[in-house]
């Protein structure tokens, strides 16, 4: 299968400390990959480098055979830092993303789908963390990218939100999208993934089938 993302010898240093050191990772088109590992292992940094949110200190990232920076329109990253503007409403934030990213979609339907229709015109500063996360999902659905990267997608969400995320993963898999998920909800997510990658101390320390993580073979 064609490679969607290739990270070659990727390293990233923050203030003299290597958060990632020599990560080699290849994700095939249509593959769903779980990234897991302890706090501070480098999972978030890896996703940010793979998505081109930050540049690697060394190494390269290519997406569909081209430098990732040239392929930004084909990927999306959902992370803790949501990028929403506090003073604007949820609808404004979504309209902004649609206008700046030249994206088309029924914003009302998206807000309805993520459960924000009733609060869509309130400033985002009045939203709870879970509502902000839901707005991030709406923006991600608007972009509808070929490669989607999730960093702790379940964090701050309620039970209904967890179900929404599960359904979204299933939808993305059915659509043939390439998905990378970094989460501590390993038991929940691993069975949905084709492959699991364990990161520790900024390195890939184990790779295997998603189901093997649940049965404990990754330990």
């Amino acid at each position: 299968m064609k490679a969607a993302v290739i990270a070659a010898e990727v390293g990233r240093r923050f203030a003299g400390r290597w958060a990632l050191s020599g990560v080699d990772l290849e994700v095939a088109e249509g593959e769903t990959v779980l990234l897991h590992g302890p706090n501070g292992a480098g999972k978030t940094t890896l996703l940010r480098v793979l998505s081109s949110a930050i540049a690697p200190t060394r190494g390269t990232v290519t997406v569909f055979g081209a430098p990732v920076i040239e392929q930004r329109h084909r990927l999306a990253l959902l992370t803790h830092a949501d990028g929403h503007y506090d003073e604007l409403s949820g609808r404004d934030n979504l309209e902004l993303a649609a206008s700046l990213g030249q994206l088309r979609g029924d914003l009302g339907a998206l807000l309805e789908r993520v459960g924000l229709a009733r609060r869509a015109d309130d400033p985002v500063r009045t939203y709870s963390a879970g509502m902000r996360k839901r707005l991030s999902f709406a923006r991600l659905l608007l972009k509808s990218p070929e490669i989607t990267m999730f960093d702790e997608p379940y964090a701050a969400l309620d039970t209904a939100g967890h179900t929404f995320v599960d359904e979204l993963f299933a939808e993305l898999r059915a659509r043939g999208a390439t998905v990378l998920i970094s989460t501590h909800q390993v038991a929940r997510v691993a069975p949905m993934c084709d492959r699991a990658v364990r990161i520790d101390l900024g390195k890939v320390v184990w790779q295997g089938r998603g189901v093997d993580v649940v049965t404990g073979d990754a330990a």
Partner: protein, 216 residues
């Protein structure tokens, strides 16, 4: 991007009000420092106006990027993807609008506080304010972006910006002085051309180099 900046400015109007309040307080302090010497105040009105605007600009410029870094919105924009040049132009125009609004309100304040009536009329003075604030906005946006992620960004921004914009401020002060006291030496046009030149250089450099600043 420009529309986004203007919408955000409208929703967070307190930024403009705070910048104006700071600039006005600076003018007020200058008027107290000058004491009862009306001639001194009148002669230095242009300088006071621009020092007030320059100091107030650091508040506004810093805030314009605090908004972008608070929730990593700048990263979100780059991933949408929005071209860094478009981000620069949008932010710089947004900063220009704030400074221009403050500058336009500061002119009558300076007239009242320093008894400095613009003898050349209001139009050349407003043109000077436009060109002067634009020549602060472009490099200000660039350096606000540079210092946005630094821990001591509030200290860093004026340290980086002031040396760079000193020539622009000198030109703006000289042009404003000619407007206030009368253009007897026929130098107003020359100073305005200098300001146009600075604007061409700063806006072009900003558009060219902004990607290097924001692409981490």
């Amino acid at each position: 991007m420009v529309r986004k900046e203007l919408l955000h400015l409208w929703r967070a109007r307190s930024r403009v009000v705070a910048t104006f309040a700071f600039a006005f307080a600076t003018l007020l302090l200058f008027s107290f420092a000058g004491g009862l010497n009306a001639d001194l105040l009148r002669a230095n009105a242009a300088g006071y106006l621009w020092v007030g605007l320059l100091l107030a600009s650091t508040l506004s410029l810093g805030e314009s990027f605090r908004v972008e870094t608070a929730h990593d919105s700048l990263e979100m924009l780059l991933l949408l993807p929005v071209r860094p040049t478009a981000i620069f132009v949008g932010k710089a125009v947004g900063n220009l609008v704030v400074l221009l609004l403050v500058g336009v309100v500061m002119v009558p304040a300076a007239v009242v506080l320093f008894d400095a009536t613009p003898r050349e009329g209001l139009a050349p003075l407003l043109l000077t304010v436009l060109l002067g604030t634009a020549s602060i906005s472009a490099p200000g946006t660039m350096h606000a972006a540079l210092s946005a992620r630094a821990r001591s960004r509030d200290l860093l921004l004026p340290l980086l910006l002031f040396p760079l914009v000193v020539p622009c401020v000198i030109a703006a002060v000289q042009a404003s002085r000619a407007c206030f006291t009368g253009d007897v030496m026929d130098e107003l046009g020359a100073w305005l051309r200098v300001l146009v030149g600075f604007n061409v250089v700063h806006w072009s450099l900003g558009a060219l180099l902004f990607a290097r600043v924001v692409e981490d």
